[in-house]
């Protein structure tokens, strides 16, 4: 059953495949269409062929971190109006200390209970 609100297609990018499978299952059962990527190269490829309504993006990944990837895809795929939720267990303050700003993106602290994820998504995106 597809969701009735404006968010239907979600792209989840995380190098933790175990977590990816759990998130995909939970969100699909909640009515979303979910695409997963376990690296930014695959995610970049998928963004060429799909337009997600929401992106869940891990911050600490090999090759390029989530914040840099967010800047890249915002420019290349004109995703300024697409909500992006950055996930990390680094506190926001530590990200700032590392010189990163999450800009207009939402922030979801890891670890989180995946059973609460649909409600969290609703809350975060409702504030947008």
């Amino acid at each position: 059953m597809a969701k009735k609100n404006y968010i239907q297609n979600i792209l989840v990018i995380d190098d933790d495949e175990f977590l990816l499978d759990a998130i995909k299952k939970k969100l699909e059962l909640d009515g979303y269409r979910v695409t997963i990527s376990n690296n930014v190269h695959d995610a970049y490829f998928k963004l060429n062929i799909m337009k997600p309504d929401l992106i869940l993006l891990d911050i600490i990944m090999p090759d390029i971190n989530g914040i840099e990837f967010m800047t890249l895809i915002n420019t290349e795929f004109l995703l300024a109006s697409t909500p992006i939720i950055l996930m990390s267990y680094l506190p926001k303050k530590e990200l700032y200390n590392m010189g990163y700003s999450i800009g207009n993106a939402h922030y979801l602290a890891k670890p989180f209970n995946i059973n609460h994820l649909p409600a969290k998504l609703n809350r975060l995106t409702a504030k947008a």
Partner: protein, 130 residues
């Protein structure tokens, strides 16, 4: 009922949380448990390799990457261990060897318990509610 309780007591993880994620889809829970045993073995091997190469950045990354999965299954003791290795890498480097060794042993115990649980579970006619 006794048999179910015995099986449940074997596994040191929160199976109920996985059941809830998959809406009591037994095949999903089994697949996730099997996947976790591979992840845990890989985690142990990667930690050893990084430690032996004194690749501290990789050691830190492996811990960071795996913490959410271990948290998902509420393997809290191992989460604490991963966090201590991650932090220890920044502070004392060689001192993390003992923690990696302990992680290796604990991981083996968890993998063994999950495999035993999966074997027993497949032999029970009614696998619910666990």
């Amino acid at each position: 009922m006794k048999e179910k309780q015995k099986i449940l007591s074997l596994v040191p993880i929160n199976v109920e949380r996985l059941n809830k994620i998959g809406n009591n889809d037994v095949s999903f829970t089994n697949a996730m448990l099997e996947k976790f045993t591979l992840l845990a073995s890989e985690c142990s091997n990667d930690l050893w390799q990084a430690l032996n190469k004194a690749d501290w950045l990789k050691l830190k990354y492996i811990c960071h990457k795996n913490i959410p999965s271990y948290s998902l299954l509420e393997l809290n003791e191992l989460v604490v261990l991963l966090k201590s290795i991650e932090k220890g890498v920044e502070q004392e480097k060689e001192g993390v060897r003992a923690s990696v060794e302990l992680m290796f042993r604990k991981n083996n115990e968890v993998v063994k318990a999950i495999n035993e649980y999966l074997t027993l579970r497949t032999n029970v006619k009614d696998p619910h509610p666990y």
